[in-house]
Structure formats: C-alpha cells, structure tokens
C-alpha cells in the first residue's frame, strides 16, 4: 500500500548539492560497461554451456 507523507521535510538545495558524486556515477558506469571483461561472466557462461551439453547428452 502507498504511504502518504504529509508536510514532509525534504533536504535543502545545499544538502543535495553536497551529496553530488559524479565520480561514483562514472565508477558504476564503468563497472556496468566492463561486466563482460569480468572472468565471472565467462565462468557462468561456461558453466551454463557445460550443464546444457551434459543435459542434452544425457537425454
């Protein structure tokens, strides 16, 4: 169910500005972009391929 907040205190412009973190945005962007360079990515694809092959052979 939706929550209704009445006369809520929101952070001010100064506080919001203090929380700006463009370096974090760039870091997350690079992590997203480079996920295929991660060995785990190939590891999971490899494992899935082996499992599928074994499954097909066993049928």
């Amino acid at each position: 169910m939706r929550k209704i907040l009445y006369n809520r205190d929101e952070p001010g412009a100064h506080e919001i500005k203090k929380r700006q973190d463009f370096d974090l945005v760039i870091k997350k962007y690079q992590e997203n972009r480079d996920y295929w360079k991660n060995p785990w990515f190939y590891g999971s694809i490899g494992l899935a391929s082996i499992a599928s092959t074994l499954l097909l052979l066993s049928i």
Binding site: R2, I4, P11, I16, Q20, D21, F22, V25, Y29
Partner: protein, 188 residues
C-alpha cells in the same frame, strides 16, 4: 515545494547541452556539467515518490549511470534532454518498487491539499483531508502519476507529455480524466 520548470530553455542552452552530449558520447567525463545541472531536479522528483531519502540518493545516482550508458542513443528530436532524463528517472523509480528497494510514497503538503480542494470546488477541513488521503491511496498508479506531475509539481502539460511520451493535448486530457477519477473515488 514545486519543482522548477526545466522546459523553457533558450536555443543557446539547448545547443550547449547538445555539444556536451556529443562530447560525452566519446568521453563520459564530459557529462559532469549535465549531472551537476540536473541532479537536484531528478533527486526531488524521486524523493517525493519514495519513503527513504537515502534510497532516493541511490536511485538518482542510478538514473545518471543509466543515462550515461544510453547516451549514445540520445538524439535531439525536439525533446529536451531534461525530459529524456525524467523518463529514465521514472523507469528507475518503478524498477526500485518492483525490486522492493523503495516504497511508493506520496508526498503532500497543505498547499497541494488546498489546490486539490480548489479543483474539487470544496473547502478543506480535517475530515475531507482524511478522505482525500484515502482516495490518493486507492487510485490507480497512472492517474496518481499524472496528478503528481500536474497538481503537486505544477508541471506544464507539454512537459508532462514529454515525460509520459504523449502529446501535450493528450497529456491535458489524461490529466483531466485522472482528476475526475480521483474526485469520484473521493466522493464514494
């Protein structure tokens, strides 16, 4: 507090943004001025719709990551860059509700309540205010989103149209119908 309109931009500003976007497609670090310019507006759009301020900061950050990831797809076709960002914000927001990372919240204040009752052509009292809160909990998500954009944040129909991907006239019709449905639920 209503969100400042980002819609009415001069040609010079639009051209300057387009130059930054083109440079950002080659090097994401060039995106910094757009991040600084729109961070507060995107954050305010999100924080009004989630119950936790920290989640709002996280979702805002994800909006800009998504924008950078997809910036190569952005082409100027009369739609301001800010509207493109708001579309991403809307999508990230609903994703966070689906992932249960944030709870759907409606932020309302006495000025908004007074405006809504003016639209209803009724005076406001505690009992009616309580009835309005119940109605806001009950209406469908699409209607609520339109009412928030128009009556809570005072955005123009043109801007609403850009955010929800419909024409200005269609946005006006849809918003009017959404308000009628809210009134109907309120009067039940």
């Amino acid at each position: 507090m209503s969100s400042p309109s980002l819609y009415h931009q001069s040609d010079t500003r639009i051209q300057s943004e387009l130059r930054i976007i083109e440079k950002s497609k080659k090097n994401p670090n060039h995106f910094a001025p757009l991040y600084k310019q729109y961070h507060e507006n995107i954050f305010r759009y999100i924080v009004k719709r989630v119950d936790d301020v920290e989640s709002a900061y996280d979702i805002t950050s994800n909006v800009f990551v998504k924008a950078l990831t997809n910036i190569h797809k952005y082409e100027f076709r009369g739609v301001p860059f800010s509207s493109w960002l708001f579309r991403i914000a809307k999508s990230e927001l609903y994703q966070s509700f689906r992932d249960k990372k944030a709870r759907r919240t409606v932020s309302i204040d006495k000025v908004i309540v007074a405006d809504i009752f003016e639209e209803f052509e009724e005076s406001c009292n505690e009992e009616r205010k309580e009835k309005l809160m119940i109605a806001l909990r009950s209406i469908n998500e699409k209607d609520l989103a339109l009412i928030e954009l128009r009556y809570f944040e005072r955005r123009s129909y043109r801007e609403i149209g850009e955010i929800i991907s419909v024409t200005e006239n269609n946005a006006k019709v849809k918003t009017f119908r959404a308000l009628q449905r809210l009134k109907k639920v309120y009067n039940k």
